[in-house]
Amino acid sequence: MTNLVLFDAPGPKAKRLSLILNILALVAVAAGIAWIIYTLAAPRVYPGANPGEEIVQPGYFDPSRWHIFFGEGSGELWGAIGQGVWATLSAAGVAAILALLIGMVFALLSNAPSRWVRIPTTVVLEFFRGMPVLLMMFFLLIVIFPGAPFWAVVGGLALYNGAIIGEILRAGLKALPRGQREAGLTIGLTSLSTRILIEFPQAFKQMTPIIVAQLVVLLKDTSLGYIVSYPELVRKTMNHLATYYGTDYRMSFFLVTLVIYLAINMLVSTFARYLSKRMTK
């Protein structure tokens, strides 16, 4: 739309120019994609042990790189990948529920009437939001849950995202008209019940799109479990399976992992967009 305002409406000459440029750009993009596919499909040539010697291996789309995914014994492989997906989704699910709860507590505390509660909460929120989730997971793994990487991953994600959701909810509470709170207090509810029964539901509804977007981030961040030795999807495929089946299949495993992640995340993102459209109606 902005373009229509910035330019005069294109005449026949400008239209033709834009068509030509469009075709050129399309050719360039298509050529780039074709080059990538061609490079991946071409046989791999590595220098051998002796000078002048060459080792030739099949390209990445060769059936010999993919046969483990089909036919006999592939059930076991897909079962292992399924375990990885489940490990990722279950960590994300538990962490999401905990993060929502922690977020609500943080939002309550950071809106508390007493400044002796409010100020320490702000400091703690700032602390959790400002450091890497990975560091938090590492801390939990070493100090609190040694030998239980699942809880280190879940705990780190829950605290970090809880702090962020707390901040989102706090902004949501602040944006509500004052009359809502006054009305609650007038009909005899306590300060806390007003918050929970009247203000929270509205703030939650207002902020749902942002919160869901944050939960997508949480889902992606479960992959940090790779580094703290939690066998989520990336660790399962790129570490366990690629070691078990050999390096010849590494690229295949990478592509499969990539597609699974894209599918899950785009599904959740689409849902988030649908939700935010429904909410803003």
Partner: protein, 228 residues
């Protein structure tokens, strides 16, 4: 209490390692931040370009890269790129640093693009219409009216992108880069008595970068907020 006093007496010995990690983290942040900024600007330009093909490619790039976890991108640069021929032998140990830079720049670029694009889309169309109707040319409209407003609206979200990048540099520690996060692991291995204070010190060093950046973002947001 005694425990912390002992920790602080050991701290001078640990400090060189902390500092080396902190500097490596800053290097990762600045270099990949700059590269991501440039790629992000190009992608943002693609996404608002009059050419449909470029708009679509920009959107597809953003959508794909944003939906891939950072760890998988690190696996791509550190494991897959070498098998594709990018071995970087000439960098010796520094190759891990280069892989990390590639991964972080790649991952951050669509977020930069989105921040820039949202700034431009945030300028109401009436501004450009008004500029055009008082007779300003395309270049004047862009440079005198649209750009000044778009840029100041872009700065706070951009700073937030760089705060996220600061925290994301820690993932490089899992892929053989000796930055702050992996240094904290090395320190705990050597000074096994002090895991908690070492990790707290590491957290504080991250906060030294992220909190001031956040303050600046908030300040800029208030200061340059466009009053219409």
């Amino acid at each position: 209490m005694d425990y912390f006093i002992r920790y602080f007496s050991e701290l001078p010995d640990m400090w060189p390692l902390f500092l080396a990690g902190f500097i490596a983290t800053l290097q990762l942040l600045v270099i990949s931040g700059l590269i991501a900024f440039v790629i992000g600007l190009v992608v943002a330009a693609f996404r608002v370009s009059p050419l449909g093909v470029l708009r679509t490619s920009g959107a597809v790039y953003t959508e794909i890269v944003r939906n891939v976890p950072l760890t998988l991108i690190f696996v791509f640069t550190a494991v897959i790129l070498p098998t594709l021929g990018l071995t970087l032998i000439e960098f010796k140990e520094g190759k891990w640093f280069v892989y990390a830079i590639i991964a972080l720049s790649l991952y951050t670029s669509p977020f930069v693009a989105e921040a820039v694009r949202s700034g431009f889309n945030g300028v109401p169309i009436g501004q450009a219409e008004a500029a055009r109707s008082i007779g300003l040319k395309f270049g004047q409209t862009l440079s005198l009216v649209v750009m000044p407003q778009a840029l100041r609206m872009t700065i706070p979200p951009l700073i937030n992108v760089f705060i996220a990048l600061t925290k994301n540099t820690s993932v490089a520690g899992g892929f053989a880069v000796a930055e702050l996060f992996s240094k904290s692991g090395a320190l705990i291995e050597r000074w096994g008595n002090f895991p908690i204070p070492i990790l707290l010190t590491t957290a504080v060093l991250y906060l030294v970068i992220t909190v001031p950046l956040g303050q600046i973002a908030g300040y800029v947001e208030r200061k340059v907020a466009v009053v219409r």
